[in-house]
């Protein structure tokens, strides 16, 4: 009994914090999602309306559109960060120890806040004075202002996001690479494996757990992408870059429809929960198969 109380006394501060900034807001949002609650509609004062918000959501084409946008961004972004991160990590791990002094420099984008990253993206891609914007425009590759173009706005955001986060993936993979046992590599040398075989049969399987962790963190985080989009396009042009969190934000804090916004957040939560579960199982399937 005493030991239980002792344990709780240590957990309590963290638990309280989690309660105040995590669980209570979540429950409040859950409660709002069943109510009509809007600052702009004098009849919606928080009365219980059952599943009405959810019913509206199910038939809201903008909601489905925002989902599609989110996935159109997430898939290339995660692939890009994974591939670029892995490449840089491999380069760094094989380079001389002195080269690793470059790691903090490489990490700079990740250390900046997304708002700053968005601003940098905005300036870089500006066709009048942006470092990348000018050549892209002058060469005729991009014929309009990139972020104002339905064709280029989302890819531009995706590229900026890749630039923001690939060093994070690279650093996790680099620390993984440096901690791998060297004996299997010696065995592979003697066995006559070529570079590709060694990479596929020795490096990748050993590095897999690190890759899973890095990409899972990135997927969870990328699902809620907001700042970069808000700074660069505000979801525009039109709703071309309106990812799910941007749409939820617009409903909640622009249209002030708290009930509807909360319902949206609940749905996002459930979908993320399921997606992470599926992804985690899929990515760790290989590792768990060996433990049986």
């Amino acid at each position: 009994m005493k030991s239980t109380r002792f344990v709780w006394s240590w957990i309590l501060p963290a638990f309280l914090l989690f309660l105040i900034i995590g669980i209570i807001p979540f429950l409040v949002a859950g409660s709002y999602s069943f109510r009509a609650y809007s600052f702009t509609d004098s009849t919606a004062k928080g009365q219980f309306i059952g599943l009405n918000n959810y019913r509206r959501l199910v038939v809201d084409p903008d909601f489905y559109h925002s989902f599609a946008v989110t996935f159109k961004y997430i898939i290339p972004a995660i692939l890009g960060q994974g591939i670029l991160g892995l490449g840089v990590a491999l380069l760094m791990s094989s380079a001389a120890r002195r080269m690793r002094l470059l790691v903090p420099i490489m990490l700079l984008p990740t250390l900046l806040t997304p708002v700053v990253i968005g601003l940098v993206g905005l300036l870089t891609l500006n066709p009048d004075f942006g470092v990348l914007g000018i050549p892209l425009f002058k060469s005729g590759l991009v014929k309009e202002a990139m972020l104002g173009s339905a064709k280029w706005a989302l890819p531009a955001i995706t590229v900026v996001d890749i630039w923001h986060w690939y060093p994070f993936v690279a650093v996790i993979l680099l620390s993984g690479l440096l901690s791998l046992p060297k004996e299997p590599y010696e065995a592979a040398q003697v066995d006559g494996a070529n570079a590709i075989q060694t990479f596929l049969r020795v490096t990748m399987p050993l590095l897999w757990p690190y890759l899973v962790v890095a990409l899972l963190i990135r997927i969870i985080d990328a699902f809620g992408i907001f700042d970069i989009i808000w700074v660069m396009t505000r979801g525009g042009p039109g709703t071309v870059t309106e990812a799910i969190s941007v749409y939820a934000y617009r409903n909640t804090f622009r249209y002030w429809n708290l009930g509807y916004g909360s319902a949206m957040v609940m749905v996002i939560y459930v979908i993320m929960e399921i997606a992470v579960e599926i992804l985690y199982n899929a990515l760790t399937r290989r590792a768990s198969a060996e433990q049986v």
């Binding site: 010696e186 040398q189 006559g192 399987p205």
Partner: protein, 370 residues
């Protein structure tokens, strides 16, 4: 199949630890060659240098008189069994064994069927036939070691380099594997360099062997050479169990006086007396005698024999090891258990100087009998 020549290998780790100091030896084509030494002697470093996995700082490695010092490991076509197993953790036992056979440079040597048959044969021989579809994490240390050995043996390389390949097996299995290894090597006639800290293993397997200590070769030769004529005190004590007894002695005329009892004089042959008297001017002489060469007799009061008291009797089945005190000196003797006296018994020791080894106290080197 190849002759392996190692010339003047030197290796330093981190610029501090000198792992190898001028190591040279030659291993004839088709020969079973043992590297014997305590841990840290440089056995693994030598193996890795021959395999090209960790090149030495100085010196040469030759295969059939061709210098391969700067060649890649795979170009040398040697198979290595690592002491640390070095299995591929994400591959099953079968895939681990298949891996070396699928290397690009060997792809044409094996058909799909011959490859699978070979894997199953080797696995059965090593007693891991049941484990082919398991992953390394699911195996015990001894099983992993056999997979590591199997991964070397599936190939038919120019030479096997085996680094303590059966050290982690239980005693019974180790004994069986020793026989199997010897048989495989005889059947295939593939040159084998075998590192072990176990002197019995080296003596029983090797055709030629080298004794390593602190990165230096102490002696090379046949097991008989090493056992019968150890080149120095280190080899004398490292090879043979229990270790050889070493005592300081002095020479008086044609007799020999031990510290155990200055009244007892051991007679020397003329040749020995001549050899040893030339050394008396030097720092001194040490006598070495193997426990099996000390004859233990019951107390008879014979004043010409050394007197000793049995302090401890260790029964090892058919033989027993006695620890005795003669004067202030500890001596060990090995004899048949049925002849062993009881603890505390007073005994007389008969030491035949013809069976003794003599070493220079200063250089620790053997004084060769003519």
């Amino acid at each position: 199949m190849a002759k392996i020549t190692v010339r003047g290998l030197c290796k330093q780790y981190d610029g501090k630890v000198q792992a190898l100091k001028d190591v040279s030896f030659e291993c004839q084509d088709g020969e079973f060659f043992c590297l014997l030494g305590p841990s840290g002697a440089g056995k693994s470093t030598t193996i890795k240098a021959i395999g090209g996995i960790e090149p030495a700082d100085k010196g040469q490695v030759l295969l059939d008189d061709q210098d391969v010092t700067d060649m890649h490991p795979w170009e040398r076509d040697l198979a290595v069994a690592f002491e640390t197993y070095a299995l591929y953790p994400q591959l099953t036992v079968r895939e681990n064994l298949r891996f070396p056979l699928q290397a690009p440079i060997r792809r044409d040597q094996w058909t799909k069927e011959s490859l699978e048959t070979r894997i199953v044969d080797i696995a059965n021989m090593l007693g891991i036939g049941e484990l082919l579809d398991r992953y390394p994490q699911q195996l015990s240390g001894g099983q992993r070691q056999r997979v590591a050995l199997g991964r070397a043996l599936v190939r038919k390389p120019r030479a096997y380099l085996l680094d303590e390949p059966i050290a982690h097996l239980d005693a019974k299995l180790r004994h069986r594997m020793r026989g199997e290894l010897k048989r495989i090597q005889m059947d295939l006639g593939i040159t084998t360099v075998y590192a072990t800290p176990d002197q019995l293993e080296a003596l029983s397997l090797a055709q030629h062997m080298a004794v390593l200590n602190r990165g230096r070769i102490e002696q090379t030769g046949t097991p008989e050479d090493i056992f019968e004529r150890p080149a120095n005190i280190f080899v004398a004590r490292f090879v043979g169990d229990p270790p050889m007894n070493i005592v300081d002695i002095s020479i008086e005329g044609d007799t020999l006086v031990t510290p155990m009892d200055s009244q007892v004089r051991l007679p020397l042959t003329e040749g020995l007396a001549g050899l040893l008297s030339r050394q008396t001017g030097a720092k001194g002489i040490k006598l070495g005698i193997r426990p099996k060469d000390i004859q233990v007799l019951p107390e008879t009061g014979d004043q010409t024999l050394l007197k000793a008291e049995v302090q401890q009797v260790q029964v090892l089945g058919e033989t027993s090891v006695l620890t005795m005190k003669a004067g202030a000196t500890d001596l060990r003797a090995k004899l048949a258990t049925e002849l062993a006296p009881a603890r505390g018994a007073n005994v007389r020791l008969l030491i035949d100087t013809a069976k003794c080894h003599f070493f220079d106290s200063a250089t620790q080197l053997r004084l060769e009998q003519p």
